[in-house]
């Protein structure tokens, strides 16, 4: 699992959803959590440095989660940041596009604490291997 000191960026246009994800992260032991309301604000926070994990909603106005993912993956300074997309609409075409764009895992809403934890573990497993490679 991720080090609890990992800086996590939670991105969602809905305050309620940011609070739900943040609450679960705190229950899982994470202490360094920041939030952004859309992909643009998130990108600014990524550029400040030290973000170790991004959990982003997909469907947001201004800059979607997928657009944020593409920006992150295209910049060699940040391209290895573990990225987890949250979506309410897991249609295969969308999921395939996210995978092609370099997402590490996706979580389908609604989700429980156990559901998010399992996805975080999978994300960590995948991205640890990427760092070793």
């Amino acid at each position: 699992m991720f080090d609890p000191k990992t800086k996590v960026l939670v991105v969602d246009d809905m305050l309620t959803m940011r609070k739900i994800v943040t609450k679960i992260l705190r229950e899982l032991g994470f202490t360094d959590i920041s939030e952004a309301q859309d992909g643009n604000e998130a990108w600014e926070k990524v550029k400040l440095g030290n973000v170790g994990l991004i959990i982003s909603d997909w469907n947001m106005p201004n800059c979607t989660g997928l657009e944020l993912l593409k920006k992150v993956r295209a910049d060699q300074d940040y391209s290895k940041i573990p990225f987890l997309l949250v979506t309410a609409e897991a249609e295969q075409g969308q999921v395939s596009e996210a995978i092609r764009s370099g997402v590490d895992q996706y979580v389908v809403k609604p989700f429980s604490k156990e559901g998010l934890k399992a996805k975080l573990e999978l994300t960590h497993k995948k991205t640890s291997a990427r760092k070793l490679a």
Binding site: I20, T87, A88, E89, E91, Q92, R100, K109, P110, F111
Partner: protein, 276 residues
């Protein structure tokens, strides 16, 4: 649901048909795997090939599709291409196969033409995904059991009153509609308190968008189920209406059905409207 990054096609199986989605990076992958998979699906029913974003179909891939088309024809079934842009159409004409394949605009049209399309009516096929999604969302996200009551058609002047509503538009190529979820304050506060793990005693800016998020989750789950049946519903962003004893009407023209839900904290209502 997951797709392998190395593949340049995906296959989704549905009742009576399957959809093959060809990827725009098609030319980077060996055709052998595609040929193997296509060889094993000829007896499964109609085949719909989604060509969205393709400018051409490489000749060896085209040859596999032609072979599949001929196999299906022997069984009185057929293959349809959908989402053909002008570049791809020109390519198919140049290759002399534009009249060989049946072509439809999108999945919904393809299903209508094959006789597999669902009716565009507010029947159980359309309503049940929303009903199941509502129960599922409250159970998983708020640990609250909700029971659906008798579904009924809204009377012309009937108003559903509540204190907060989540509203989302249903938009597809061939019909529109809306979903409205209306909560009394007491029920909404209990749901949100459970979702966020802290008690809220009034609806304020901190939690008001929770109605939109609940609507989004319910709509998203129902959309996946309905789109597997060919409805072609597009992504939408919800909005929230808040006000003591408000009621919403006339969002879309068409019949409206109401599903009352009962929880141990009170009732709330889901209104579904569909217009062609």
């Amino acid at each position: 649901m997951a797709a392998d990054m190395s593949t340049s096609f995906t296959i989704e199986k549905f009742e009576g048909y399957l959809v093959i989605k060809l990827d725009s990076k098609i030319e980077q992958v060996s055709v052998k795997e595609f040929e193997t998979q296509m060889g094993s699906i000829s007896s499964n029913g109609f085949v719909i090939v989604n060509c969205d974003s393709l400018q051409i179909i490489p000749r060896d891939w085209l040859r596999v599709l032609l072979k599949l088309h001929l196999n299906l024809k022997k069984e009185n079934k057929f293959l349809k291409l959908i989402h053909i842009n002008s570049s791809l159409m020109n390519f198919l004409k140049k290759e002399g196969v534009d009249a060989t394949f049946r072509i439809s605009k999108d999945l919904r049209d393809a299903l209508i033409e094959t006789g597999l399309s669902p009716k565009r009516t507010l029947d159980t096929d359309f309503i049940n995904p929303f009903l199941n999604a509502t129960i599922n969302t409250l159970k998983i996200q708020a640990q609250i059991s909700a029971e659906a009551g008798q579904v009924y058609v809204k009377k012309p002047k009937e108003l559903i009153q509540g204190d907060i509503s989540g509203v989302i538009g249903i938009v597809s190529d061939s019909f529109n509609g809306s979903v409205v979820i209306t909560f009394p304050e007491k029920v909404f506060l209990k749901i949100i308190s459970n979702m966020l793990g802290e008690e809220y005693s009034k609806i304020d800016n901190e939690i008001v968008d929770g109605a939109g998020e609940l609507t989004n989750m319910i709509f998203g789950q129902a959309k996946v189920v309905l789109n597997e049946k060919g409805y072609g519903i597009k992504t939408a962003i919800p909005s929230v209406v808040c006000g003591k004893d408000h009621s919403l009407s006339g969002l879309t023209k068409g019949p409206v059905v109401i599903v009352p839900f009962t929880t141990e904290f009170g009732q709330f209502f889901v209104e579904i409207c569909l217009s062609n």
